[in-house]
């Protein structure tokens, strides 16, 4: 910037190029492996130049892991989670910020505390409740009135089962709360003076104003949902609802099969592409979403 430091600049470039190799190396490995034949991919030392079997490997991975429906399932899940989280975040934060009730603090803390309960530590009971959503309702009614109901709702192997348990959003609610707090009180006062009811204020003023927030949140939530692994893996036993991330695991070579790394890398390449495109193409929004949810 200000001074001439040719040697230091050289060092800086050297480090940055080394970093680039570190970051892009694995991507290049995945790509070249997915273009090679079975013999080429297992050659030692590994040949870092692309081979000729790219299309063949892509097709093999696509058919073997049944990636067509799986990618569609992942897309549906990711979009539903993305939209659901934005809707939930915007309305929850509205209820917290724009109304004066002592319960809003309780609500805020309840939402906040979910951050301390990641899926991994409550995985079995969450699975149980997804298999029988009305269990607490039945229990409540039975202890209160003594009546035994036969209400049942099984979420396993359904889109609602993929989406509902991961859709509650503490980070999104924070982001929206933060955003609402930065809006001037005069805006609300003016709207009220013009006779706007809360619902109209929310739809016609808050939502359009939050467009940048919404886009930022949408990018990180899409990536988050697409990359979900443990939950879809547990709750989809039928192939019809398998997501791409789970389908990819069927391509892992095991001891009893051929080491077809070329096909598994082709599969990995296909499933990692959608979030990568989002991050690369919408980088500005993605970075903004990530940085602003963590304040």
């Amino acid at each position: 910037m200000i001074e001439r430091t040719p040697i230091l600049n050289m060092v800086t470039y050297f480090i940055m190029i080394f970093g680039l190799l570190l970051i892009l190396g694995p991507f290049w490995m995945i790509f070249t492996a997915s273009t090679q034949s079975l013999a080429q991919v297992n050659a030692v030392p590994f040949n870092l130049l692309p081979g000729t079997d790219f299309v063949h490997n892509l097709q093999a991975a696509w058919h073997r892991a049944n990636l067509g429906p799986a990618m569609l399932n992942s897309l549906i899940m990711a979009l539903l989670v993305m939209v659901g989280k934005i809707v939930l975040a915007s309305i929850s934060a509205f209820a917290i910020v724009y109304f004066r009730s002592p319960l809003r603090h309780v609500f805020f803390w309840l939402v906040f505390m979910t951050l301390m309960l990641p899926l991994e530590v409550r995985v079995v009971p969450t699975y149980n409740i997804a298999a029988d959503v009305f269990e607490p309702v039945r229990w409540l009614i039975q202890t209160l009135t003594g009546i035994e109901l036969s209400l049942q709702w099984n979420l396993l192997n359904s889109y609602s089962g993929l989406v509902l348990p991961v859709i509650a959003t503490a980070t999104g609610t924070f982001l929206y709360r933060q955003f609402y707090m930065t809006l001037p009180d005069e805006l609300t006062e003016a709207a009220k003076m013009d006779g706007a009811r809360p619902l109209r204020f929310f739809i016609d003023i808050l939502l359009p104003l939050s467009r940048t927030n919404m886009l930022a949140l949408a990018t990180i939530m899409f990536v988050y949902a697409w990359n979900q692994y443990l939950w879809p893996k547990l709750m989809t036993t039928e192939a019809d609802y398998q997501t791409a991330m789970v389908a990819m695991t069927t391509l892992v070579p095991n001891i009893n099969s051929l080491p077809e790394w070329n096909v598994s890398m082709a599969g990995a390449l296909i499933i990692m592409l959608p979030p990568l495109i989002i991050v690369a193409a919408l980088q500005r929004w993605f970075v903004r979403g990530l940085v602003s949810t963590e304040k």
Binding site: L20, F27, M29, L117, V124, P125, T126, A168, E186, Y229
Partner: protein, 298 residues
């Protein structure tokens, strides 16, 4: 903190809060109470009917008496601290370099963010191939001397593999926050210090690192939490080593899930889950103390 101008409505806030409230009740708090009750009780013998048996702290005593549990705690500690240190160090060096804003550094920044987009299981699968003992990039060392590198056989190699996966994936995230932190340092400070004759290295050490400290601390806590209990750790271990060989990468979070689903030891898994939840609370508390201090600092 509070809004001066608010709306009056009885039903609208309830209606707006209700969906999220129901979701967190059904999928977070109800399961959490199950974890709590399971941790302090036992399934009736032979899967028989009847209420669960309250056993107090017995389940915890069993967990603490288990040598494998302590092994998994030790593995988690090694994994979390090494992966965090490695990832943050690399990201930090790259962020400092990119922040010098030399010609073309925008291109580097563009690519350094990529690893964050890749799902942990995909990272695991890719690195499993790259570091496979019989094919891939590293396999060539085994032609020099057999079994120089074999994560399927040696526990330490397997641990190195999962650490590399996690560290690589989190470089992207750490880099994003560090560049954001560096950019928020006022330009005038940098210029003033260079007027006083400090070179880029001196400025990095005496100016940028101290001013970046809050960001670094935030990332430190977050990386540690994520590597202890995060879904990425589970996904990476599941796709690379599955906890093996011989339990050498059976970190706490992986152990809980596999014990609960394959071993069907609900009570043991529940008590281990409670311990992890306690850990997360400690981390969150530390995070909060620090956030508060930062607010005062500003």
């Amino acid at each position: 903190m509070n809004k001066r101008a608010v709306f009056k409505s009885r039903w609208l806030p309830i209606l707006f809060a209700l969906p999220q409230l129901l979701l967190i009740f059904f999928f977070f708090y109800w399961p959490a109470t199950s974890v709590l009750t399971w941790a302090f009780s036992l399934e009736p013998a032979f899967g028989g009917a009847g209420d669960r048996l309250f056993v107090g702290w017995d389940n915890f005593r069993d967990v603490f008496a288990d040598r494998e549990y302590w092994q998994s705690v030790a593995l988690s500690l090694v994994f979390a601290f090494t992966a965090t240190a490695l990832s943050m160090f690399i990201a930090f060096v790259l962020a400092i370099c990119v922040d010098r804003q030399l010609k073309g550094s925008g291109i580097f920044r563009f690519f350094y963010i990529w690893p964050y987009a890749i799902a942990a299981p995909a990272v695991g699968l890719a690195f499993r191939f790259i570091f496979a003992p019989e094919s891939g990039l590293i396999a060539v060392v085994n032609t020099w001397s057999p079994d120089l590198w074999n994560p399927a056989k040696f526990g330490s190699h397997a641990m190195i593999l999962v650490i590399i996966c996690f560290a690589w994936k989190w470089i992207g995230y750490n880099f994003i926050f560090m560049t954001a932190g560096l950019q928020s340092i006022p330009r005038s400070l940098i210029e003033a210090s260079s007027m006083d004759g400090s070179g880029p290295v001196r400025r990095a050490i005496d100016l940028q690192i101290p001013l970046l400290a809050p960001t670094l601390f935030f990332l430190l806590v977050l990386n540690l939490t994520e590597s202890f209990v995060g879904p990425d750790t589970y996904g990476i271990v599941d796709l690379t080593t599955e906890g093996g060989p011989n339990g050498a990468t059976n970190v706490m979070v992986y152990r809980i899930v596999s014990e609960a689903f394959q071993g069907l030891n609900y009570s043991g898994a529940a008590s281990q889950s409670l311990i992890l939840i306690g850990l997360i609370m400690v981390f969150t508390f530390i995070q909060f103390r620090f956030v508060e201090r930062r607010v005062h600092y500003k």
